[in-house]
Amino acid sequence: MTLHVDEPAAQHADADEAVLRISGLSVDYGVGERAVRAVSDVSLTLRRGEVLGLAGESGSGKSTLAYGLTRLLAPPGVVACGTVIYHPGDGSEPVDVLALDHAGLRRFRWAQTSIVFQAAMNALNPVDKISAQLTDVIKAHRPDLDRAARIARARELLGLVGIPADRLDSYPHQLSGGMRQRVMIGMALALEPRIVIMDEPTTALDVVMQRQILAVFTRLRKRLDFSVVFITHDLSLLVEFADRIAIMYGGRIVEEAPAAQIYRDPLHPYSDGLLHSFPALRGPRRELAGIPGSPPDPRSLPSGCAFHPRCPKAFDPCAREVPILGAPGEAGPGAAQGAGGGARSVACWLHTSDRSTA
């Protein structure tokens, strides 16, 4: 289980661009005999200025991964192994996030990485004004700023996400769900972090509001140049919004590729099935089948590839051995390097070099 092949070599080529490098990260719930492995052996690199989409169904470990790498995991969750290296990009030494002490973590959090939580509109404190909640984090991290400067910054943040500054003295219940969500995004950007993690940021919103929030977010990202980890179960949204997509199943990444490639030519049967689980709004009406069976229970994952009981293309090695995430086809891991941004990897026996059927 600990056998681990490094990410495609392409990512070493632009290592200078990496903001966050996760390697071999495993997260358990509980310890000892009864531990449940929710995330196993995940390696990912987040590059500067990109939107990395993490897609998966419930129980696939996508939120656990986000909490694991930000060290927000509440007990009984524990990071079993792996490293998370943050590259500050200003020439200073890379930081091992998992080894940070309490003070270091306080400095790192929100200033370098911020997170927009699932159902973020309920994440605001109902008894505090928006202004208090926006200035709180500035107060903690920039003690040099005085009250007037903090309020000015809060005003600026609201303007950034398209909310009139006179709403600063509102309480959360006086704002609509979409406005609360935008306040959360503004708050996440308060200290100009280099990484923003968004955990199902728009799931609780209507489609019209979802599109507006994403439009605001896209505009801000172009202006402020931060990297995003975008977690959602809605793959069709990611295809439109993300630069690169990693698809998780049963706690592992089963495929990682640029968004357009995943959409046009998914290699893993699960990615393919997931893409064909969304009825199309345009084009011909097709008969769709979804994926038979249900997502696995992390407490009793199937042997070998976790997807094999539901996979239409399963063959003999699938039930025996866990496929390793690597470059697809005959090409060895090195060959993907030439493709530049087109580097992709898949964990499927169908696409492993010695058994390739492609």
């Binding site: 609509s176 979409g178 209507d206 489609v207 295809v239 009825p279 345009r282």
Partner: protein, 376 residues
């Protein structure tokens, strides 16, 4: 281009209409403030206003809308779980109002509901057997003796593709996955032997990969048992996939309806257009790369996206404060249903096929000129 009568029977005749609602209205009273008490005003949430809906045998009608648009209230009114403020509900043409008791039981034998959350709609302390036997017994379909009951149970589970039945019959809800639970909930609804199923977001709590399985199952059941299904959803793409007919609701009123293909491919009402433009669509990337619709994303970025207040709904068309084409008349008068020209011509001759209509002044004959200007 005439105003459609909301009660007009389809060309196929009235016999295939199972459930019909007309001018359905529901207002929920809200607590009166002191000032309102003096002024004699009775504030209420106008959850559903003047809704007309037809459920036909063997057809799926989708009701699409955002949260708070009143679509779930419509389902609960149709199931007679709420008393209505006004309007009529007709089952096979006969006006029905039931408030509990024997008559409600008889009504619910014909009209069954499937709820959104199968984690909450099944009792965790009872087995699948109990849930289904209870429904059979309540609706007097349990049969004589143990063998017949067992056969009825096995038949129900087979209908929802939980086979072999003995593997599932003695399970508790927590032993089943979300998709299996929703299948049990569907089997329980079928145990009553209904003619109409009201499915209130039946797949939105389920994992993406198993949603289509449930929708395909409902469609198979519809064909086998000739059911009339109301499919309530916020996902207009799934309405296109699953429903024969689609109606769009905004702030408690119906704004557009017709066969699903017309409504999703040639949306007429500005709100429906907004809804469709906002839906995630991977193919949009290709369109953008080709330089198409440069102004589309800009227009979507405008406005607040706030749904109108239902306590003090906007006068006239409820969408007018957000509508890019709003005219003078929109603020003053509630638009009636206008037939959308050109789109329905191919469907009109086919019997039972609903005409495509929109409740929007852009499609009224008097304002057609303005509409052409606005749409350009």
């Amino acid at each position: 281009m005439t105003t459609l009568s909301e009660t007009a029977s389809p060309a196929g005749g009235a016999t295939d209409v199972v459930l019909e609602a007309e001018e359905l209205t529901k207002h929920f009273p809200v607590r009166r403030r002191l000032r309102a008490a003096f002024s004699g005003e009775r504030p209420a949430v106008h959850a559903v206003d003047d809704v007309a809906l037809l459920l036909r045998r063997g057809r799926v009608t989708a009701l699409v809308g955002e949260s708070g648009s009143g679509k779930s209230t419509v389902a609960r009114l149709l199931a007679q779980l709420y008393p209505r403020t006004g309007g009529a509900i007709r089952l096979h043409g006969a006006e029905t109002t039931v408030r509990g008791g024997r008559r409600f039981r008889a009504y619910s034998g014909k009209v069954q509901m499937i709820f959104q959350d199968p984690f909450a709609s099944l009792n965790p302390v009872h087995t699948v057997r109990y849930h289904l036997t209870r429904a059979l017994r309540v609706h007097d379909r349990v049969g004589r003796g143990r063998a017949e009951t067992e056969a009825a149970l096995a038949d129900l589970l087979a209908k929802v593709q939980l086979t072999p039945p003995q593997r599932y019959i003695d399970k508790f809800p927590h032993e089943l996955s979300g998709g299996q639970r929703q299948r049990v909930a569907i089997a329980r609804a079928l145990a009553a032997g209904p003619e109409a199923l009201l499915a209130d977001e039946p797949v939105s709590m389920l994992d993406v990969s198993i949603r289509l399985g449930i929708l395909n199952l409902l469609r198979d059941l519809k064909e086998q048992m000739d059911l009339a299904i109301l499919y309530i959803t916020h996902d207009i793409a799934s309405a296109r996939y699953f429903a024969d007919e689609t109606q769009v609701m905004y702030a408690g009123r119906m704004v557009e309806g017709g066969d699903s293909e017309s409504v999703t491919q040639q949306p007429a009402h500005p709100y429906t257009r907004l809804l469709i433009d906002s839906a995630p669509d991977p193919d949009r990337l290709a369109a953008q790369a080709g330089g198409a619709d440069p102004d589309q994303s800009a227009s979507l970025d405008e406005g607040t996206g706030e749904v109108a207040s239902l306590i003090h709904p906007p006068s006239g068309c409820r969408f007018h404060p957000r509508c890019p084409h709003a005219m003078q008349v929109c603020t003053a008068q509630v638009p009636p249903r206008f037939e959308v020209a050109g789109v329905t011509s191919r469907g009109a001759d086919e019997s039972g096929r609903p005409a495509h209509w929109a409740a929007c002044w852009l499609y009224s004959p008097e304002h057609a000129g303005d509409a052409a200007g606005a749409a350009a």
